[in-house]
Symmetry: C2
Subunit: 143 residues, 2 copies
């Protein structure tokens, strides 16, 4: 609650700030919380590339958004920041989802399957999960 | 609707048949329908093992049940039968889900992601998807 009247100049300042924030899809630090995992990375079963596939599910409507891969570094970074971080197999580098697009994925929960070779992450998805602009990467129907 | 009265013997026969069906988790052929895919297997991007990961989602409550892998043969078999069929990497053989456990997965829909390297299947799951008896393989919470 503001305790002073807004001058036209101040009003303009706040509006510009809000628009800037929206346009730049600024990071909401209150949603990104560090996590502690009940199991170590070393207890997971990795694929031939030393990575683990991660199914990403929308925490709000249960939609499956994408599948990506984590290596140990991406896993640690995800826990430390509370932001989904993957290993990009095409670019061969760590990939903080949303860092360039603003479409961050705030981690809500993480689970591992019975074989300990797949992670299921529930996230708050900002904007679109898919680089095509679709909310989910699974927009192509086969059958 | 039966148009004749049930004798005690007939009643017993029908009850035994129903119990047998339940106990043996018999296959419900009306749920397994052949499918035609809008895209060929050859247009998918396979992993190093020539396979594609498949996310399996419960069509009734959107729960993510498991992740498994298909090769070309498993894909064709899935389309032909309407029953989720995978390639078992541990047993090195085709694996019609439910054939030994009765826990069939009737295909409801199939989608492919933007990179064409992951399939999302929505299924009617009989019983438990997980060999541990859990409905979903993702019952272990990490964070």
């Amino acid at each position: 609650m503001r305790r002073f009247p807004l001058t036209p100049a101040l009003r303009m300042y706040y509006r510009r700030k809000a628009v800037y924030k929206m346009e730049n899809k600024q990071f909401d630090s209150s949603l990104a919380r560090p996590l502690t995992s009940s199991l170590e990375w070393s207890s997971f079963k990795l694929n031939a590339d030393g990575m683990i596939p991660v199914i990403v599910q929308d925490d709000q409507n249960d939609e499956v958004l994408m599948l990506a891969y984590m290596n140990g570094e991406a896993w640690q970074k995800t826990l430390e920041t509370g932001l989904m971080t993957y290993y990009s197999r095409s670019r061969n580098e760590l990939w903080v989802k949303g860092l360039t697009s603003g479409h961050f994925q705030y981690v809500r929960s993480l689970k591992i399957d019975c074989d300990r070779d797949t992670i299921l992450a529930r996230v708050i998805q900002v904007g679109a999960a898919c680089h095509t602009g679709n909310r989910s990467c699974f927009y192509t129907e086969l059958a």
